[in-house]
């Protein structure tokens, strides 16, 4: 039985359980690389002003776009499996927000694929963050540095600019 590669959910995820499921007792796997993104209490400056964060997404397109990213990762890197979990809805500082995990025979491929998937997700998956601060709520601006990160992989997906 195969597990879904992409989950968009309001509830938290368990890194150990996700990695165990992805490895699936596959004896070819020699490397597992995972990235967990968490909610910070600040954006840019040193001032801890973020009280909470609301995440909106485009149901349907979100899943489709991330599935396409995983297909692309399989084409580019010699990996066995990949798993992406992204939370939506109301989140607090310290909460986990995103998980990318990849398995491969050797570390290089899973390290690279994990970073590729995160760079792609940051600029191409339809999520939007709204931060709540003592001064009110505001939508987070996209970063040009995230576009530059994607460009390293030869993809010019101008999101922020």
């Amino acid at each position: 039985m195969s597990h879904p590669r992409v989950s968009i959910q309001t509830h938290d995820f368990d890194l150990s359980a996700e990695v165990a499921r992805l490895r699936a007792a596959d004896k070819r796997v020699g490397a597992v690389c995972s990235f967990v993104g968490t909610v910070r209490d600040r954006n840019g400056g040193a001032d801890p002003s973020v009280q909470s964060m609301e995440l909106e997404h485009y149901p349907g397109m979100t899943e489709k776009s991330i599935e396409a990213m995983i297909d692309e990762a399989h084409k580019r890197f010699d990996i066995f499996g990949a798993r992406v979990v992204h939370r939506v809805g109301l989140l607090q500082p310290l909460d986990q927000i995103v998980l990318v995990a990849v398995t491969s025979a050797h570390r290089g491929e899973s390290f690279q694929a994990c970073e590729f998937l995160m760079d792609y997700l940051k600029t191409q998956a339809p999520f939007w963050k709204k931060e709540q601060t003592p001064q009110g709520a505001h939508w987070v601006d996209a970063r040009v540095s995230d576009d530059a990160a994607l460009l390293r992989w030869g993809i010019s997906g101008s999101n922020a600019s």
């Binding site: 993104g37 909106e56 485009y58 397109m61 927000i97 995103v98 339809p126 939508w139 997906g157």
Partner: protein, 83 residues
């Protein structure tokens, strides 16, 4: 032709709705954007030329030249900020 237009994040808030069904003569995403800009003040502001607006056609990122067809699902949204 009839299409569904969806709005997200700051653009959804400014438009005052998450989606609408439109009867349009626009042939491309760019033409549809212009049609909406000409239609009302809110759209004129948030979809204005020079503003960073991303578009999707049938749930895939699209550019101004992407061709519309009857029954299409179009979306307008700001640059994405997930992850």
């Amino acid at each position: 032709m009839k299409i569904t237009v969806r709005y997200f994040a700051s653009i959804r808030e400014a438009m005052g709705t998450g989606s609408e069904v439109l009867d349009t003569s626009a042939l491309t995403l760019g033409q549809l954007r212009d049609e909406l800009i000409a239609r009302d003040g809110a759209a004129a502001q948030v979809l204005a030329r020079g503003r960073a607006v991303r578009m999707a056609l049938n749930q895939v990122m699209g550019d101004e030249a992407a061709a519309l067809a009857d029954g299409a699902e179009v979306a307008f949204f700001p640059p994405v900020t997930g992850g």
